[in-house]
Symmetry: C2
Subunit: 484 residues, 2 copies
């Protein structure tokens, strides 16, 4: 029966099963496990096995069909243990069954002596590929591509093509897309294996190939590559150099990882965290601190403006302390509202739902959305504050003092205070959405990642504008009406 993945109990059962097979030296049982259960589930079940003898036994028994793929799923600590314990011959066998990009992933995290042992174990061709892959800049198409692909001349017949695939396909990352070049070695088309299957044996590749294929350059950003995959529903894409000659391919399973990595980066940036390269549990404590603390400090320094504004109004707060009670409410509402807009716009920009030229459309839409939200929120806030003050949730002693001092009407004075907050919120809602939708476009215009810090900067700007509005409304309209 099918092994049920991901259940904690099953993981432990599987671990016991694998370990008992190893300890009983039962190669048959171990092979059966590898035949019926995906490699990654087995690797995860034994992720805390660090005994070289136990790990080596697995590789000696399961055979080349599984070993390279299983090796790629191990933790880098386990990979290091295995490589150190391997004889040169065993290492060469493993390496020659591996893809160049998996080898690169492995040795990127290894100490120098292991790296040189691995490189020495590579056949010459493969070593060249590995070295080249190691040299591409991080996050480019070159750094994620693999060099095992099938390329044929455009004059090849379907019959020969299928024979070539039979002969060389085992070493290729995919045999489902064949890349076609002309006599000058320029990439001119792609042929799907399905096209070969459905064509006559005598057809020539140049007649059946897709000329509307999509490719990318080695130096393209991996995020752009992922977008092309999504847009054109591809499963494999050629990576070409500046002369339009193919140098590697990228397959869809790598693209899924790229999408997740880029999304995690965006999400981290929106929350004011520096990129998380590693999973949370594997990131050391001090690294986590370094990723978080600079932004907390920077945003605290940015608060200098709100501090200055509040400080400038200290005397008025001392006169009428209820003013201080409502500042967090106003600032939080502005922050939440600006955050909503920024998040929507950043996500839409990163999914290419619209581009820079659509800014006028977006700002007009936001003006309408913001006016309605401003109306609703300020009307609600007016009613809510009247309620809070009436039932005594908010201390109204400073209003009572005013009534005594000026002989005014208590309810009218409460209404004036509620109107001060409601009016400020109306302005805040509109400003927060306009700032929140404009900053990501501005970031894009100056070629910055729209996700970086747009959220916190929106909040800070909105805080400043709403506090100034609050105190201007107070000084010029509400304060005088209360006899200040």
């Amino acid at each position: 029966m099918l092994y049920t993945q991901g259940m904690e109990e099953n993981k432990n059962i599987l671990k016991q099963w694998v370990l008992s097979a190893i300890n009983n030296r039962s190669g048959k049982e171990l092979k059966e496990i590898f035949e019926t259960i995906p490699n990654i589930d087995i690797a995860e079940a034994i992720s805390d096995v660090k005994d070289p003898k136990q790990l080596l036994y697995i590789f000696r028994v399961v055979g080349s069909e599984y070993s390279a793929e299983f090796f790629a799923e191990l933790s880098s600590e386990q990979q290091e243990i295995v490589i150190s314990a391997f004889s040169d011959k065993e290492l060469m066998e493993l390496i020659s069954d591996s893809f160049a990009d998996d080898i690169v992933d492995t040795i990127e995290e290894m100490p120098a002596n292991i790296v040189s042992r691995v490189l020495k174990a590579c056949p010459k061709d493969l070593r060249g590929d590995v070295n080249r892959l190691l040299n591409y800049k991080e996050n480019t198409a070159g750094s994620v591509m693999t060099t095992e692909y099938i390329e044929m001349k455009d004059s090849t017949t379907v019959k020969d093509a299928i024979q070539i695939i039979r002969d060389k396909g085992k070493d290729a990352e995919t045999i489902y897309t064949v890349f076609v070049r002309d006599s000058k070695r320029t990439l001119v088309g792609t042929v799907e294996l399905s096209d070969l299957i459905f064509s006559k044996e005598t057809d020539v590749l140049s007649d059946i190939m897709d000329k509307d294929f999509v490719s990318c350059n080695v130096n393209d950003d991996q995020e752009d590559v992922a977008k092309k995959f999504k847009r054109y529903d591809l499963t494999a894409m050629a990576v070409v150099n500046s002369e339009n000659k193919i140098v590697g391919i990228i397959t869809i399973d790598d693209v899924v990882d790229i999408i997740e990595q880029e999304t995690s980066e965006d999400i981290a940036h929106m929350a004011a965290i520096t990129d998380m390269e590693d999973p949370y549990l594997k990131t050391p404590v001090l690294k986590l601190v370094l990723k978080c603390v600079p932004w907390i400090l920077a945003l605290m320094v940015l608060q200098v403006f709100t501090t200055m504004i509040l400080s400038g109004f200290e005397d008025r707060i001392a006169q009428f302390a209820i003013l201080a009670v409502f500042t967090p409410l106003i600032m939080d509402a502005g922050g939440n509202s600006g955050g909503q807009t920024t998040t929507m716009i950043v996500r839409s920009l990163s999914l290419d739902e619209f581009g820079g030229k659509d800014y006028p459309k977006v700002i007009l839409k936001e003006l309408r959305v913001a006016s309605i939200i401003g109306g609703i929120v300020s009307a609600f806030a007016f009613g809510w504050l009247m309620f809070e003050m009436s039932v005594g949730i908010v201390n109204t002693s400073s209003i009572a003092e005013r009534v005594t001092a000026t002989g005014g009407n208590f309810t009218a004075y409460m209404a004036l205070v509620a109107a001060l907050v409601a009016g400020t919120l109306f302005v805040t809602m509109i400003i927060s959405r306009l700032v929140g939708c404009s900053l990501p476009f501005l970031a894009k215009l100056v070629k910055l990642d729209p996700a970086v810090m747009c959220g916190p900067i929106t909040t800070t700007l909105v805080d400043i504008i709403s506090l100034v509005t609050y105190f201007l409304l107070w000084t010029n309209i509400i304060g005088p009406a209360l006899g200040f």
Copy 2:
């Protein structure tokens, strides 16, 4: 040469090219465009063409090789125009070239009369598939699967299998994975086309099939399906019913869309926005308002606690107004810090980097991270506030009054105020990270989406705790030291 995708100028050039081919009735030119340029680029270039005659001309000329795929890329408005203009025969031809899942996507947004015309045009088998797909619950495997797949008995030989693919493969969504059933119609394995290519013609599928294949149930959540695809690096997966019989398949290109949709949902929830089903520009203004405004109002009501706390300390603020100046700084730092933690934890949970049982590990790690961040932030804040007060960024008249009243030392009094804020921040940093990392686990425990509202609720909780700390420190230690 290769058409350069995504450039605004090219889009206009392409549009003119297509339109001139249509207007000149040049079928040859139009065919050439379709041969050399991806369908989605052409569809996007003519996205504002609404003339039934122009659209019909395209479908009459380009032939069945492109028409179904091109139709799927048109906007639903254009699709409606085309269907209305088609004769019954043309509609039947288009439909029989289409996949059941594309038909479902099309008619889900159409008026009833179009839906019934399309269903009538479906061949009987296809109509059954479409109706079944329409009935699966949204976001389940059943609702995203397609019903065009290749299934064979386990006793089939490789030679026969390749012949079956040649005969029936044109109608299948993928021919790269063949699904294998036993005599009871139970799914027992999968065979990759590459395995067929590399095997002997006389081999039988049951000998070469993968038995460690992965499948999902029709009722599984699409997010879980996407996770399996990532975990096992799949390109196609069987969807089975409760009797383990295959009823459909899901392919990797659909999974990429699912991942994006689920991530957008998470991101929206973290920013307190209700799900965005449609792209921003296509969402009506009032719908945007409805997605945003309830959360703003709800969070404002939640602020009742901070309002009460501040209000309870109104008298003390009136006595010493500088206290009000620092509340936004403390609340924002707490919000930012809690947001960082929540974001990291929510993302890690949604990528399955860890699960509920890892909570103790996470909270221990957070305690260490939080203590260090608390130390750094409070030390920095102490220095920064001393600076702000010394250079007059913060109005220190209330401190000067105190010095006059008690005969104390001005610098010592400033230091006491700075220490009040620094001490509060130390507590706030620790609490914010502990709350921020715990809430997502709590949400998971009670089977809620960890992304929903964890951010804003963290902020509100942290606000309350930090304000209470602030005023407790003031009332019990700093206030008395300043002679209050």
